[in-house]
Point group: D2
Chain length 357, copies 4
């Protein structure tokens, strides 16, 4: 159980740690950082070394328990930045609740289990443990964010050498399978789906999802890094969160409705965590899109560019966390949305579930 503050700082490159200065100016130290959640400016796909560079830069500067999650791809208007979740248990008596966070990692996910039940269950179990640590009602959880591994061609070759079939022969596709397994693990741990549904989904059915799951994959790690964000009456700080869902990649209404709820609560949006994907059906609202047939730009890059513009417009600046590939993170073609916002202490704390889907 840790109350948190959020520090969002633009970066000049993946290896920019000037956020540490802002952290220090705010009176905190690197040891107080629970998680660094960043958007870096690579392609967000398999060979995105901007993520690796960011992780290599940040990891040695943080405490041993902290996690890093770097999501590549700042297509379109998106601004590279980091979000620091900083432990802060100062008690502000004007608030009867506040935002809490917990972080952890699964054991190493062996390539054989990537995108499969082993990964799903590892995520489920680690999230479950974090929920116990947080001691919050499941309904008060608004985001479970996971960074998970992928299969490299070295992994795939090594598995073939052992006669083991990888979940995919294609490194880019392995990212999707990894995100799927992580997201289903989250949905399981939140009690949103049952085991049978999870297994059917893992096998390819897109009928189950969580609007609180956000998973991104990368070559820079072999475990899953996990962050859970929730509200809790056990702390007192001005941060709140709500979650909702974009039903397709230009569902501006979902974002503006959520913003209206925040405004109605006297809040100010501090950050949006949004998942984006191209509709697997090849159409959106009945019209053909071309993201899946573009052999020059991967579909996740298209989706981030599109959704990023909407999120930036709603937040008012482009330092938003928009991550591509929303398998089981919101309905197919849509994406999960978490809004972290700050309320004026003068404003009455109210239930925040009205806008949620």
């Amino acid at each position: 159980m840790t109350g948190v503050r959020l520090l969002t700082v633009p970066t000049a490159g993946p290896d920019d740690t000037t956020a540490l200065k802002a952290l220090s100016d705010s009176g905190a130290s690197p040891d107080d950082v629970l998680a660094v959640i960043g958007k870096t400016e690579g392609n967000g796909c398999v060979n995105d070394f901007s993520r690796t560079l960011a992780a290599a830069t940040w990891d040695p500067r943080l405490g041993a328990e902290a996690i890093t999650v770097f999501s590549g791809g700042t297509e379109g208007v998106l601004a590279p930045h980091v979000n620091l979740l900083v432990a802060d248990d100062s008690h502000d008596p004007r608030h009867d609740r506040g935002l809490v966070a917990a972080v952890g990692s699964t054991p190493v996910i062996p390539p054989d289990e990537l995108g499969r039940a082993g990964q799903m269950e590892a995520v489920r179990d680690t999230v479950a443990k974090l929920l116990v640590d947080l001691d919050v009602a499941v309904d008060d959880v608004h985001l479970v964010l996971v960074k998970c591994p992928l299969l490299t061609s070295t992994d795939i070759a090594e598995m073939h050498g052992r006669g083991v079939e990888p979940v995919s022969e294609d490194t880019y596709e392995s990212m999707a399978r990894s995100r799927a397994a992580s997201s289903l693990g989250i949905a399981l741990s939140l009690g949103e789906i049952d085991d049978d549904t999870a297994r059917a989904a893992l096998a390819g059915r897109r009928t189950a999802w969580s609007n609180r799951a956000s998973a991104s994959a990368g070559a820079e790690l072999d475990t899953c890094h996990i962050l859970v964000l929730a509200e809790s009456p056990a702390v007192s700080n001005p941060l709140r969160a709500l979650h909702t869902e974009m039903t397709d990649a230009y569902d501006l209404a979902a974002l503006q409705d959520a913003a209206a709820v925040v405004a109605g609560r006297g809040g100010r949006i501090r950050q949006l965590f949004v998942k984006a994907e191209s509709a697997p059906s090849g159409t959106i609202r009945g019209l053909r899109h071309t993201m899946l047939t573009d052999s020059d730009i991967n579909a996740t890059r298209h989706a981030r560019a599109a959704v990023g513009a909407l999120a930036a417009a709603v937040k008012g600046d482009a330092a938003v966390y928009v991550s591509g590939g929303a398998e089981h993170q919101g309905r197919p073609g849509g994406g999960s949305v978490t809004v972290v916002y700050e309320v004026d202490p003068a404003h009455t704390a109210t239930s925040n579930r009205g806008a949620e889907r």
Copy 2:
């Protein structure tokens, strides 16, 4: 002076002419088509053969006077489609005005003049002639849309062989120079800038622009194809137009303000013609974007993906005309916007200049 109807039809590919069926169903023939303005699904850059394919498919099916403008690039949610501007001088007595269009082409733009005064003046003169044909007040013009040539590496080599320096050594950059010259020609013909300003702008200053100019470049033609859209009291049809400006690539407010004006007039948006670009400063609202340093995806592709999502959200479907590279088409980093809308004849016709920038 020709009153027009607008037919917007999704396409299954650049060579899809099923719009001709819709045209026929509406009682018109290909000879009635003034212009086919399409979005095709190539990269929108130099080697975009989706434009050439569309032009090769459509040109022989239209009358000799008709023009085609194919703008490549349907990044993100954008839906490939064609917009047919169909001559229709039927008189609807419930309307005291309506939308008119005129089309034409400049003479061939020699490579030596591409991106230079020769092209600018050719566009200026052809637009001026079209304005005379239309016989409308300049303030009633809401869109001048141009398709203009670019320099291929063959052109550049040929010029070097003659000892002539091309406006750019880089084929992709030549598209920007061509759009710039066209747009300044438009601004001149609309009386928005003077000759000195135009020349300074042609030399690189981004201080002059038109919010009614929309230019796209391609290898599939050697003249400039030009369409002028205006309102006129000399015809009576339900179409109207207004123009405004996005001040940056996520200026959703500009689009939503325009939509509110349309709604206030009892109108329904039929099409958005929007130019998109990445801010040449490298920042938007003070935050860094990465469109200009992404060596994998050209900046125009990023910009279309971002702006396309906003336009689709505002129109409610993704068959919107969003074109990349907005040199002198709206302020730097922004883009010109034209909204074509349809009013209910029951609704009182009112001035439409309120929302314009």
Copy 3:
């Protein structure tokens, strides 16, 4: 049974038909053309409209029986060009044999059969028929070149709507599956593999291949276009062919050995038909390559660029036919190679099987 000449003409773009002038200058007419085999300058992947443009340009200019095969992708040094196989039964008494060709098409390949037994068998049967027409010994066949369809996202969605599982969910991957089925059909018809081996290969085993198969896939057709090239003692012309295999993507020795055989026979290389691919193992000669983990450039583009340089160096010019994706067209990571060459009539005709693998 048709003796053929080969006319290789560079193109200024996918819609360049100046080869017709060279054809006319050579005394032939478009009706004499059996096949146009071209390299066009698109991405060679799913959304490559350079192929469609070329086909749309050439098809109406040729006789009803002629086929076109356009292979996209002229990466690296490769020069866009067309190869016209022109029927020519003039008898040159100085030759006791010559090159013959036959062309045909399969029935439409329904999406349900794409990449599956149905496609494989359709190719097998059509090739078998062409071999009968040619009346040559199987050993005298040196190239079976196929252009085959792919799955678009529209196809995939339509199949899902009918509850049918496509051979792949990924449009780019469907190209590989289509090439595989075509190539196994070729290998079957040439008696190089048996049915069981073919079926195992179709299911994913890369242990069977033909060094005479060359398949490329595209969205521009729904049947498979097929060309068979062989030598025959029934005609008398100066063209000959041989085939061999690159064992990996920089197996220059294979090409230079073949060139030495040609030289030894007093011949001059007229064209190389080479398949290229990135080693599926992720390594070549024990060292890692990065073609399969590059999310910005598809692996087939990398492979064409690499192999194209070798083929150009050996031929001495870059108008070589190098096509990407060599599933079952040569061993994994390698590629089939056919050399068409011209012998000096003064030179004694000799067996050409020495260099073949």
Copy 4:
């Protein structure tokens, strides 16, 4: 004056330092390393963070005087690897000469001087100093390798803010200008061109070049890192070098001729340092290439893929140093070539200038 050994080690990623193990196994320590010259697997263009990651990983592990040069882009068959130049002054009496190296850095190159005379002169002066240190005849120098900065969009915006015009508005183009300035500085210091020629070349004329210059640009540094390789009679080791020139991007003969010289001297190729570029004329040997009109893949990536295949074929493995963008590094469209080879001590040492162009 330092005799050197060369250790070439494949890498599993940009941050792979297993070469240190090989170094240790060979009896040396990181302090003995003069330079790490690596090929990393990014796009080799502006936003290539594989270079930054490699530099961030290696720099802290080396002595203060050592330099790193990471060249991005392992297109086609190229294998990511590092080349360690290790000081080794052991005296092998069977050799009357050997390979020597010197390394250094220029002062910081301010953005205002990037691609301009300031950078050119800084490189010239630093190379001159290194030549003095080496105390070798200019003819014995076979490679001057430079890693130089580029302009980011932040740099460009900052310069505009100060009213200073950058050498290019385009970040990718700035890489070419930086390589050009570095290469001309090298040519000056080697006495290959005079000041007037250098200045004319800097202004855009491609009539001057050095076949010993190899420059690559990156965002990961603000000085120029420089390595000079030469032969010297003052040391005794088995390494030798020669240099030559590819006259175009498939000039295999140049490489094979050099290999023949090495073989004639009883040598074995240890490494090739080759520059690659797409012919600025748009044609190679009279045929059109499409590298300059491909808006999806930058020309340097195409060129590396093509030339890399040739170099790998000649060396026999793909861990070759092929770097893209050969402005003034060999003639236009060609590229400089340095071959480092090892001679059998039993073999008589002979002059190595026979093959040089």
